[in-house]
Symmetry: D2
Subunit: 311 residues, 4 copies
Amino acid sequence: MSELAHLGPVELFTPDGDASLAFFVGVMGMDIVAEDGPSIYLRGWGDYQRWSLKLTACDTSGMGVLGLRAWSPEALQRRVAAVEAAGLGIGWTDGDLGRGPSYRFRDPDGHRFELYHECERYDPPEQLKPALKNVPGRYTGRGCAIKRLDHINILAADVRANREFCVDTLGYRLYERIQLDDGSEAGAWMSATIAAHELIYTRDAHGANGRLHHLAFWVDTREECMRAADIWLDAGIPIEAAPSKHAIAQGFFLYGIEPGGNRIEVTTGGRFVYAPDEPVVVWTEEERKRGQAWGVQTVESFHTYGTPPVK
Amino acid sequence: MSELAHLGPVELFTPDGDASLAFFVGVMGMDIVAEDGPSIYLRGWGDYQRWSLKLTACDTSGMGVLGLRAWSPEALQRRVAAVEAAGLGIGWTDGDLGRGPSYRFRDPDGHRFELYHECERYDPPEQLKPALKNVPGRYTGRGCAIKRLDHINILAADVRANREFCVDTLGYRLYERIQLDDGSEAGAWMSATIAAHELIYTRDAHGANGRLHHLAFWVDTREECMRAADIWLDAGIPIEAAPSKHAIAQGFFLYGIEPGGNRIEVTTGGRFVYAPDEPVVVWTEEERKRGQAWGVQTVESFHTYGTPPVK
Amino acid sequence: MSELAHLGPVELFTPDGDASLAFFVGVMGMDIVAEDGPSIYLRGWGDYQRWSLKLTACDTSGMGVLGLRAWSPEALQRRVAAVEAAGLGIGWTDGDLGRGPSYRFRDPDGHRFELYHECERYDPPEQLKPALKNVPGRYTGRGCAIKRLDHINILAADVRANREFCVDTLGYRLYERIQLDDGSEAGAWMSATIAAHELIYTRDAHGANGRLHHLAFWVDTREECMRAADIWLDAGIPIEAAPSKHAIAQGFFLYGIEPGGNRIEVTTGGRFVYAPDEPVVVWTEEERKRGQAWGVQTVESFHTYGTPPVK
Amino acid sequence: MSELAHLGPVELFTPDGDASLAFFVGVMGMDIVAEDGPSIYLRGWGDYQRWSLKLTACDTSGMGVLGLRAWSPEALQRRVAAVEAAGLGIGWTDGDLGRGPSYRFRDPDGHRFELYHECERYDPPEQLKPALKNVPGRYTGRGCAIKRLDHINILAADVRANREFCVDTLGYRLYERIQLDDGSEAGAWMSATIAAHELIYTRDAHGANGRLHHLAFWVDTREECMRAADIWLDAGIPIEAAPSKHAIAQGFFLYGIEPGGNRIEVTTGGRFVYAPDEPVVVWTEEERKRGQAWGVQTVESFHTYGTPPVK
């Protein structure tokens, strides 16, 4: 039981705002809900919040601010106190679009996070109301038609330090991790729910700080994930890793690079962790050499590329 | 081995051209390739011909002309001779859009057919060229994104007479049929290929002539068929029969009524008949009472409704 | 955040132990892990506990004891205290197979529940170890090959009273419910996790107490759910409701009756509720008349049949 | 319109009969229908013939005899005459199990083929009769539960010569081929039906004759193909190529090596060719460098390994 409800929204930086927007709207099938200066607020048809992605045109790529929704006002206060005690706090803000008071801080690696509880629920205009009242918005049926933001994988120079902060201070549950032969930690898969992962840290091959590995959007079936690969292919989106199944967390993936340079995943599946005392699965260096679940070897760039690029 | 290559294109009449067009383009995801007076020519992304559906606004609903592509110029001549010998010929036409000489005739029930061989292959504009060269057109990713025209089910006062004409004169293979306890034939499923059905006749409950039961469009997976049901639901398209599996031919279906009143199916699956001497499967009245494959009882309107409506 | 981790295992009574066992092993694809007198302990390949179903041959059908796993030893103590305060406690037991101290009680309707925390994790024999270390057991590939126990739907004479007990005393989250025009409650869908439902109460049409509506087992895809329908059909298992999509909770279902008379569901999908403040979806009598998501009308027996049968 | 109905049955040699049999029965889910000395006759649940695979234990691996079913007795006589005229005939045999008179011959590369028309249709025993009368046999629900034999890929020192023989003499339709920069042919995809491929020739990297690249079995969905990968992984079957989509023919694949050393594919999808005048798709060397449909690079062994092994 975590005091966090879930991860997101996420702010993504792009040096090519127009092309990135065309990708998220035309190819991924997200909808624009608001604009503010260089930022566009977007949502998938199944996001319950008004927006899940804030696309900000600027001079670089990478992640802006990562939102974390606390379970309750009280949980928010407790997590803020814990973060302050850890010495990583920045301070309260008025919150982003439709959001209540938010507390900004940094993880040990320097990524900016924002804890909040109050937020605006998506209220579709009359012509976009879905037929079923337990669906947040109407299915778009455009492009990949991604449903919602799912998880994020950020890079860190020291995975273990950041993982410990997330577990001890934020209250994440750790489900799986990679431990190399030298004892160091190469990756950590954490979640606030029974879903296999929401927040992932993997080692920055350049030893850099504050970088993004990828941002993942959910579709309900593997068929939709493979359909996304067909769509990306036709749209000229570089496919870095074709649809296949991860060994870690068992998720089904498609990875590619959006026009702004950020790695994007379309994902589905993944295991669900119902046991409250689920043992942490520790993968060894040798086990990782077997590749993904069905033996696909991970492309080299997957281990080295992140945004913003290291000069 | 049939001398016919496949069924289609099909002309569909609609008393509400604008609404029907909005359905086929916005909901079904077809593209407009040409217009000619009251007629709009449409295609699915996977149709190899330039068009597969001709939507003609007029004062009624139902089927206009049903195209049948002959395997070769010689096969065309032979089938025309057979039709003429059967006394059902009308005569040669210059052919519809992009089509060579076509021979128009009527089936015993009065539906208009057109045999042809020459036709125009779809040549996508540069920006719509698909990435894979063995795909006819680029996947649209809009709405149900149907792939292509698949089959047609027409109604006849006398199923057996029409079935015999199609088998004996046109050269269709008969795969399955329904024989009622009184010996009469209630339905016949025929194909020119190994696909389970292309041309279906079922009994007109009103004893009327020349009417249409439904027109079916293909998607590659059952997931897409169920997605189409979600999309129809949101778009307000009346769902007559929710996705399920037919006993006859084993196809997966979704049936509904387009704004012009015609019954439309989104379909996939269905068995493939590789045996050249496959026995015809004959379904009895009692067997049909068990409903569809998984026991779903067919809704009453499915047995009685057709277009144009009987006054 | 619930203090309960999840629902199960479940004990199921059957008046025909041999036939029920043949169903769960041969058709559903579960494995036998232990026997104890009239009871057989079974598991799906993806259950993390040693067993999820206890099949007990006796003179009736219906549910025996419903297990609820508490999040921690402390959560167990707190929930037991709450149940005792509500006056519904029975007392501590040594726990069923592989389980630590368990506290037995009744819900207001009389069903027997058992709260516990300690339990044995499945430890596959060497020849059944799965290749991936984050999978509990090896995929069986037999029959429907269900993955794990998913949820239960029990009947109650007074749905509201039981729902309030589950929410207030046990700590369940209420996601959806049916409220009839007369103000009474016809059904309540509750969960301890983000999964759309684990514990469902619907109204007993006979006003009886302690009865079972259905027990549901999970598969990962809709394709597997439809495959189960094919398998049930061949195996002669009566299909009560063919695969389709629920409006409530959006789960995909297949319902039938196992040889002991109990209704069994194969299920997948269903929405996930990430919002901590998700509004409860209240369905009206009129809305329910629209049938399931795609308009399938629920068969009458679904509203009246339960186990044990009412004399 | 080909005079051949379809490809198969196929005889497969294995140096480890017991292990190969355990693979085809326990992992692939085929059923044994007969035995004859060192040969076991097997079928998938959806094969309409009594058997589709003859597994023969001997001192090597590779393909034994490849059956080709002629459309009719007359078509058989015409094809035999054509083969004899081409100087590749061997002579008539009494036919294999349940088969009428068969004509044995060799392709230019030396593989043994057998043309036949008469064959025994599978007649399931009472307890294995399927519920639907248009299904050949009852779904097994064991392991990968492959449905039927689908296609074969054989190796040849001179692809063009063999392709020309198959098209000109046997009457196959050529759908796709690879032409290298030096003008030589590296692969040819042919079919007797609208299905994308039944008979494939690719270049033998060792310049050897009479070898097998792979034998492919059909499942109806990509989900089942991915499930097969999970099952192979647990069963210790080496996965040579994880599930993904071919560019050529668009089929979905899983490749691995059975215990006898032969490469086996589980396949589904693939395009259907309805146009009688479909242009042959010619892939260039550069296009092939892009890998499979979604960019997966083919593993080196796929281009070099075949059976029997070249000493």
